[in-house]
Amino acid sequence: MTDRRTHWVWAGLTLLALAGLWEAGVRLFHVPPYLLPPPSRVVFVFFSQLPLLASHAGATLAEIALGLALGTCGGVLLAALIFASPPLERAIYPLIIASQMVPVFAIAPLLVVWFGYGLWPKVTVAALIVFFPIVVNTVDGLRSVNVETVDVMRSLGASRRWIFRSVRLPSSLPSLFSGLKVGATLAVVGATIGEWIGARQGLGYLMIQSNALLRIDRVFAAIAMLAVIGLSLFAGIAMLERYVLRWRTPRQGIKEEG
């Protein structure tokens, strides 16, 4: 616990130091604020325009949450199918991997054509990127089960279904959470890019608009807001992970010897 806390302190200090350097550099070399505003200006804009940022953040957050949820559900479902059926695995798994060679962003404009400027093109982009790490990690997790544990359960007369639900699924949770953490950061990227291509609201939209007006301070404020969203999401998933996988680390002081 103390370890984790000192970690954060160090990261915070580094961030402050970098901001200090940036501030000093901008002032020293008289960089015009429409090229690179000093961090103090970004902080000021962040708080003075918080209502505007928050309303756009709401739209982006909805896209991220829906994209993450859909990508995760679809990923887990497909992973279970791939695991359960070797023919399906041979037919689909290589395609899923190959599909990652096509940048999702390349098809984002198509999604605008198909679904318009609303919520769904962004959700789709986010879900498509989240999907891959979830499938791969869950398939790995389902396979990582101890073979002898399955033997014991079989010898006790457990059905395939019972073994899947009570042995394989729980033992895949640690890798599913690894996938989720990667997926959460990717969902933020996906939603933002989706908004760049075509949107009427959202932080990505605000960035594009502000950029065109040379309001670079607001671009940075929007980036900071995205970072806040991404970090909160990551922290939330990490907390959920610690709770769900609480059986992985001994509680303090009760590890018994002998």
Partner: protein, 253 residues
């Protein structure tokens, strides 16, 4: 088939394909397992004991030969198997792990809880019901796995080196526990071990296997009265003899 046998193994053979051709693991293994008795399989490492117990547990078919069972129920449902490695479910508490067999069988939870509680007390795990396996020591985890095996309500327990990874002290305590619980429950036990003392301490019958491909080299009846003391002269000299027999088999068989 002798009248007092729970299980008769006749001419079991098994081979596995490898990149360099088929490897014979069992080359006609035959022996009987007495009802309510304790049978121990002993032999050089890699001789095929694990293959043999997996066949006994109904997890693997033999190539040829047969296993005749007088145990109630078909063979898949009459054996509780405990392999070498830790097979507890890490996301379940100690109690949750002990209740797995009852859950699979669809037995009443209340009855299972009562039984589990009694065994937790006997195996010195009372008070640890709510802990996760990661919070238990190696010895405690093995005891928990044994409790789960007993709670499976099977006539035959097949134990593959259940105490192999434990330190000597924990091990001898567990041997004593195992013996008393076994005597009280009247189960039939097949144990795999490398430890000749363990074999003589616990068994009614020791089946000595040859190096791979495994055959039965000798069946030794152990008639010493129970409970047996590790320091009893009979046991000490028996240990020497058995050890010599095990080693002798490495070359001259």
């Amino acid at each position: 088939m002798p009248i007092d046998s729970a299980l008769c193994l006749r001419d079991l053979t098994k081979s596995f394909p490898t990149p360099s051709g088929r490897v014979d693991v069992l080359a006609g293994v035959s022996f009987d397992v007495p009802h309510h008795g304790w049978t121990t399989l002993i032999g050089p490492s890699g001789c095929g004991k694990t293959t043999l117990v997996r066949i006994l547990a109904g997890l693997l078919p033999a190539d040829t030969g047969k296993v005749v069972s007088r145990l109630p129920g078909d063979r898949g449902r009459s054996v509780a198997y405990m392999p070498q490695s830790d097979t507890l479910l890490p996301w379940r508490t100690a109690l949750g792990n002990a209740l797995v067999p009852a859950e699979i069988d669809g037995r009443s939870r209340r009855e299972a809880l009562r039984e589990a509680h009694a065994l937790f007390v006997r195996f010195g795990l009372a008070g640890f019901e709510g802990l996760y396996p990661v919070e238990l020591s190696g010895g405690m985890r093995q005891r928990l796995a044994l409790i789960r095996t007993f709670l499976a309500h099977r006539g035959l327990l097949v134990l593959d080196e259940p105490l192999g990874a434990l330190d000597a002290l924990t091990r001898s305590r567990l041997q004593d526990w195992l013996e008393t619980v076994w005597r009280d429950t009247g189960k039939t036990v097949v144990l795999v071990t490398h430890d000749v003392e363990e074999a003589l301490l616990l068994s009614d019958r020791v089946v000595l296997l040859s190096a791979r491909p495994a055959r039965v080299r000798r069946v030794i009846e152990v008639t010493m009265s129970r409970p047996r003391a590790r320091s009893a002269p009979q046991l000490v000299s028996g240990k020497e003899d058995l050890l010599r027999l095990v080693y002798a088999g490495d070359g001259d068989d």
